[in-house]
Amino acid sequence: MAEPLSFQRMILTLHDYWADKGCVILQPYDMRMGAGTFHPATTLRALGPEPWNAAFVQPCRRPTDGRYGENPNRLQHYYQYQVILKPSPSDLQNLYLGSLAAIGIDFTKHDIRFVEDDWESPTLGAWGLGWEVWCDGMEVTQFTYFQQMGGFDCKPVAGELTYGLERLAMYIQNVDSVYDLAFNDQGVTYGDVFLENEKQMSKYNFEVADTETLFEGFRKAVAECENCLANNVPIAAYEQAIEASHLFNLLQARGVISVAERQAYIGRVRDLAKGSCEAWIAHMTPTWQAKYPEWTV
């Protein structure tokens, strides 16, 4: 094998690969979110009859996973590479394996497995069947056929690939700490870019974030979502659902949400997400049915 790809080169390679397969290459969504699936290009575009093929990097924030930069495998901020293909192509597994080959994984020496892992997002009212893809026992990708989103059947079903970029890069570069990853080919490491960020943000998430402000923010996001729904701007409504979801995650990290309350908060976010999806479908149905007369909710 040639020199292993740097972190950024790996991303560029994936961009090239999926662009060649007909994907729209998007840039990250400019909001804080817990997973690439929250990106409207996934959530909202998974609904409706129109074909949609997109690939993008999405920064993800998981406040409770912060480890102050001290754990070599856990981060409160990391990157996911998302591919969404609708309808799911019949050779999706091979397309995916092609992308692994492109970033330098040699199938004659590594053990790739598709291990059952059904995906469910209680906050998005979404579920799908699929696998976690293992490379030598390490989960490198979540591979899902969306069945429902926001409580609505996906018609047609979209295939979603979520690559854990840091893990994959650690694997390819054979390093034991995420901070030792070569970010580029000129000696900049992942640690140079993000270590200080992890330290400060872990402290903020766990110790500093003002809980009153967070609670207030949550309430405001809920109200604003309802305002948007009342005024028939479902994309804007959905953004407020994303915001509420992240504020809830921060409140969790601050340890101020009791076990009993937790379900209620998740239910609240789910209602916002579902409401946004419902409004999105209602808003788009005339357009969709003009192009696809057969299609119904």
Partner: protein, 677 residues
């Protein structure tokens, strides 16, 4: 006409490992039912599953179904037109096709003769394939691809990729979800990604083997079992066998290659159960023991490829993953050790046990009081302070990081943490084992403090849920109270606890225990009629005594004395029933003289009755049975020599009352009328 073999392969994207065995059996069962319903004879069905295919071979399929002819009687030829039309509609024939026959009374009656020619096997099989796929009972199934624009599109466990359907060497044409049957499949995903043409059922398994696919799951399991054992042996270790892992790994591989890897010895500071669970649950690895019987710093993973470098990179990768997992586990363990268990208990106030029964903290409080009471009352010979202490700490591990990560380690981790913070061994052990026994066959605690806490925990759940009327009913037992009851029964019986349950629980809980005990004893092979015979006595709430009686009865009724006594008892009871005898006043007959056999029986009863009674009192049921056994010979002699139903009213009365004494003496030990035979 010659029989042929039929091959079906349903190829899909990876089928979850846990579903494969059942899917294989379901496919065979569906096919068998369909071929039988369609009258197509065959010899037998074999079925196979790998991650990427379900396969089925039907051996000896007949060329066609048997032809059949059916006659249906219709209305008379002169019946109203409406009636005839109705008959035509129901048979699908025209008037000209009907046959007229004389009914022997001079009437012409219409008959429809319907010939059903044999159907060729190919078309029967095609319909069976479609039927089986449509009706397949996957636990979870999905839609995919462009067809999923409709929610009515064909569902399968994962996208269906190919169908092979060959009868002999001929293709059986079917099309399902846009997939047309063919004779081409694929081999191992990486070793042989190209197409393979299958000739017939005869070469299917071997052709795939040549392309790195072992079709038979049992063979893959053997390869893994043997390979993993050898890999451990080569490293001087012993594999810890695990059937669940064997099935799981066989369900994740088409070409299994067991490989041994190592982890840093420093991780062995973490409890071995944690290491084993991390390896098994997260990574599906086997673990090994060293020659001293201790967990070794090695694991066996099962790759799905014969790697070009012998598996070096694969082992390296897996070692890294496990190391990261174990670091996490160690982090949880070390973090947990920093907090004393009693400091965690406030968190239990925030966990709802059940909406009607308060929090886990409330439950802990009840269990602690009950455990102390059991010890103070002497039901369990445990130190009351230790019993209460253990109960108060027993649930604290529920809020530790480790149990949050691995819920199945509840109890066990509490035990480790208790020992680490210096609790007495008996307390730590009680915390560790207080959930036991979990299900039949699980180890039943015997250490007194453990028994007190285990018993209190289960009794509390049962009485608490019964108290708010959340009892098990039918197949519904959401709080596993039946299992708890069996746990209570096992704890009482195995430890010989003298615990009059009626003092502590309500009537319905007591009946619930009686029911469970019956079920448990039946499952243990005790004759149900003997159980009924003892339970019919009623009023017994001491399980140890109850069971001792059942046991004594069982050995007694299977002995010759027992069998004969039972026969004598039944004869006596039958006569009494027939004569509708009830004790009454009968004028004394001065001249009555008992016959010798009669006098002998009375004498025997005079001796046996108090003996049996005393023995029952002393809970010596063997002795009670022995006392009854002494009646056997006098009873037999009595029936041989004496006419019970004598015309003389007084004699009859005396003899019937003697029979009543036999019946009552026997029933005092067990209700023999419930015993069969």
């Amino acid at each position: 006409m010659s029989a042929q073999d039929f091959l079906l392969e349903l190829r899909s994207e990876e089928i979850p490992a846990r579903m494969q065995e059942k899917a294989r059996a379901d496919l065979a069962a569906l096919f068998e039912a369909r071929l039988q319903a369609l009258n197509l004879p065959f010899e037998r069905i074999e079925s196979y599953a790998t991650p990427r295919r379900l396969a089925l071979i039907v051996r000896g399929v007949a060329e066609m179904t048997a032809a059949a002819s059916e006659e249906r009687k219709g209305p008379r030829a002169d019946a109203p037109a409406q009636a005839i039309e109705g008959f035509l509609r129901s048979t699908g024939l025209s008037r000209e096709q009907l046959v007229e026959r004389d009914d022997g009374k001079g009437n012409k009656v219409l008959f429809a003769v319907i010939d059903r020619p044999g159907i060729v096997a190919g078309s029967v099989l095609a319909s069976a394939i479609t039927g089986a796929i449509t009706a397949f009972p996957w636990p979870k199934s999905m839609r995919w691809g462009a067809a999923s624009s409709s929610t009515e599109s064909q569902r399968w466990v994962r996208p269906l990729q190919g169908i092979i359907a060959l009868l002999g060497d001929k293709l059986v044409p079917v099309e399902i979800a846009g997939v047309k049957s063919a004779s081409v499949t694929v081999g191992h995903r990486f070793h042989h990604p190209g197409g393979i043409t299958i000739g017939s059922a005869a070469d299917y398994i071997e052709k795939l083997r040549a392309c790195h696919v072992i079709v038979d799951g049992a063979e893959r399991r053997n390869i893994i079992a043997l390979g993993a054992k050898m890999a451990a042996q080569k490293a001087g270790l012993t594999l810890i066998e695990d059937d669940g892992l064997l099935y799981e790994n066989a369900g994740l591989t088409e070409w299994p290659m067991p490989l041994l890897g190592r982890f840093d010895e420093a991780f062995l500071d973490v409890p071995p159960e944690v290491i084993q669970l991390t390896a098994r649950v997260n990574q599906k690895y086997f673990v090994c023991r060293d020659s001293a019987g201790k967990l070794a710093n090695a694991f066996v993973c099962v790759a799905n490829i014969d790697a070009a470098d012998g598996g070096e990179k694969i082992v390296e990768g897996n070692q890294k993953v496990l190391a990261a997992r174990l670091s996490d586990a160690r982090f949880f363990y070390e973090t947990d050790l920093k907090t004393r268990l009693e400091d965690l208990t406030p968190k239990l106030e925030k966990i709802v046990f059940h909406e009607k029964l308060g929090t886990v903290a409330d439950k802990v409080d009840r269990v602690a009081k009950l455990a102390r009471w059991l010890a103070e009352q002497g039901v369990v010979k445990a130190d009351p302070d230790q019993a209460e202490r253990a109960a108060r700490l027993a649930k604290a591990d529920l809020v530790t990081g480790m149990v949050g990560e691995f819920p199945e380690l509840q109890g066990l981790m509490g035990g480790y943490y208790a020992a680490a913070q210096g609790e007495p061994a008996a307390v730590a052990e009680a915390i560790r084992d207080h959930y036991k026994p979990v299900g039949q066959g699980d180890e039943v605690p015997t250490a007194p403090v453990t028994v007190a806490v285990a018993l209190a925990d289960k009794l509390d759940s049962i009485t608490a849920f019964f108290g708010v009327d959340l009892k098990p009913s039918g197949s519904k037992d959401p709080f596993a109270l039946r299992r708890s009851a069996l746990g209570v029964i096992a704890l009482i019986l195995d430890n010989g606890l003298r615990f009059p349950l009626a003092q502590s629980v309500s009537k319905d809980v007591l009946d619930f225990f009686a029911d469970r005990l019956k079920v448990q004893q039946k499952e243990a092979g005790v004759r149900h009629d003997l159980i009924d015979a003892v339970f019919a006595l009623g009023g017994e709430d001491d399980l140890v005594r109850l069971l001792a009686r059942v046991k004594a009865l069982q050995s007694f009724v299977t002995s010759e004395d027992g069998r004969n006594l039972l026969a004598g008892y039944k004869r006596a009871a039958n006569i009494l029933k027939k004569e509708t005898w009830a004790p009454g006043e009968v004028a004394d007959n001065e001249i009555y003289e008992a016959e010798p056999a009669e006098a002998a029986l009375r004498e025997a009863l005079d001796i046996a009755e108090p003996k049996a009674e005393a023995a029952v009192e002393a809970e010596d049921y063997e002795a009670a049975m022995a006392a009854l056994a002494s009646l056997r010979a006098p009873i037999d002699k009595f029936f041989d020599d004496v006419t019970v139903v004598d015309p003389d009213e007084f004699k009859r009365e005396m003899r019937l009352s003697l029979l009543a004494r036999i019946r009552d003496a026997v029933n005092n030990v067990a209700d023999f009328s419930k015993i069969e035979g």
